[in-house]
């Protein structure tokens, strides 16, 4: 049973849930992310500090997916969030685990994260905005999705 718990790595990271998606911005690196589907649904539970096994329980109750698959996918997702410094791990808690919140029924989509670094130049240049005829140099748009 994975008992790891997490919180948002604020103030470096800010996040907003909107329209069933999550948008996350790293104010230090300029990288931003968005989550959709199951990862967006699970996000509020993750950053509220629920242990991963409770998140698995909530996600499992909301969709038809093998709990073992959810467990494995969520562990990879949590490692990715740690690796990107989006969340930080909390210490163990002595408090009894709260009941896993119910999530709306949905199709299981796995735990993808979209990562964008096309705005990083805004943070690393001076002048802050205008650095060329076309505004800041637009680096090639890069967006990667990993499942």
């Amino acid at each position: 049973m994975d008992t790891r718990r997490f919180e948002l790595n604020s103030p470096k990271i800010i996040g907003e849930v909107i329209d069933g998606e999550v948008m996350i911005i790293d104010l230090v690196s300029g990288i931003y992310y968005n989550l959709t589907g199951t990862s967006a649904a699970a996000w509020p539970l993750l950053v509220a500090g629920l242990p991963l096994h409770a998140v698995v329980e909530s996600v499992g109750a909301s969709c038809e997916a093998d709990p073992a698959v959810i467990t494995a996918d969520l562990a990879v997702f949590a490692d990715r969030l740690i690796g990107e410094s989006i969340v930080r791990e909390l210490g163990p808690t002595a408090e009894p685990a709260a009941a896993a919140p119910r999530l709306p029924e949905a199709t299981y989509t796995g735990f993808g994260i979209n990562r964008y670094d096309d705005m990083r130049a805004l943070l690393v240049v001076d002048p802050v905005h205008e650095v060329g005829e076309f505004g800041w140099p637009p680096p090639p748009a890069s967006a990667t999705t990993s499942q």
Partner: protein
Amino acid sequence: MIGDAFARGVLRDLVAVLERAAATRPVQVRRYRIAGVPVALHIGAAGVAQSMLHAIEPLACPEDTAPAELSLFVWDGARDGVTLPESPVLRREDAPEAGLGGYSGASLRAFYQPNAGVLSLFDAAARCAHWWLRDVATTPYYERAAPFKHVLQWWIAERGGALLHSAAVGVDGEGILIAGPSGSGKSSTALACVDAGFAFASDDYVLVDAKHPPTAHLAYATAKVMRESLARHQRHHRHFRNLARDDEKPMLFVHDAAPDQVGLSLALRGIVLPAVMHRATTRLVPIRSAEMLRALAPSSILLFPLAGDAAFRRMAELCRELPCWRAELADDPNDVAAALRGLLTPSQPLTVQAAR
């Protein structure tokens, strides 16, 4: 890495230096209403006022006697004899971690642009700010286009609003935001609307207050365009500045070119994300609020990273509260303006497709 306490101490000392300078040097006080709020600018040298503040001239309110809710001191270091102390805090050289890129404490905020020679300081509790320029004569043109924008974004965020990287135009006091990164067509769309008789509230930075429904307020009456699009704006040619400078964007001040079309405040009715599509007619496609936030927030937030969480929340609120559209642009600016006018006067038929 500079420690927070050390940076705070240096900045507090710096504020004290600037306050002493303000008490001992002649300053002129100019009154403005920014987002409808009384603001006093204390200007240390006449040259600064003339050359740096033209973008906010439509906000001037010289007869205003209401107590100022923000006192902003504008310094020309070279002429006012106010230099910054030598300190590792102010020795940032391109890399934020090498010194002070920005500082955000409980009340004090600071942002330093060493290459431009610009320091912005804001003390929320004291309702006081400083905008220090190393030398007005060498300050980059983009600071003239949008003076003290970091101070403005801290100040409006304190009031529950946000400074957005967005254009805003309107008709009869109602307006729309035009979002998107530089080069996406914001300025051209905004000027197309000005040519069609719209009020102009921004082509790049706009203040949005905390009200529901929200109101956009002019921050700067500046419009900047890409050099290759100048031909589309021949009507205003004599008002464009920087035409002889290949390294600067042509810009004009809308109150010079179309003084009756400066829109100080616009009740917002929607947000548009332009897409240059070279269509025969402009098509407006409803999009989800999440898609609009992805277009609006990263550049707005990362241009002003110290505004952080509060500004991000306000942007998300705007995207939830207002209808969002992608405008697939025609080449004809009159057609673009007509399509956007249709959003503000819905009795006219719209060319709209359902969101995919």
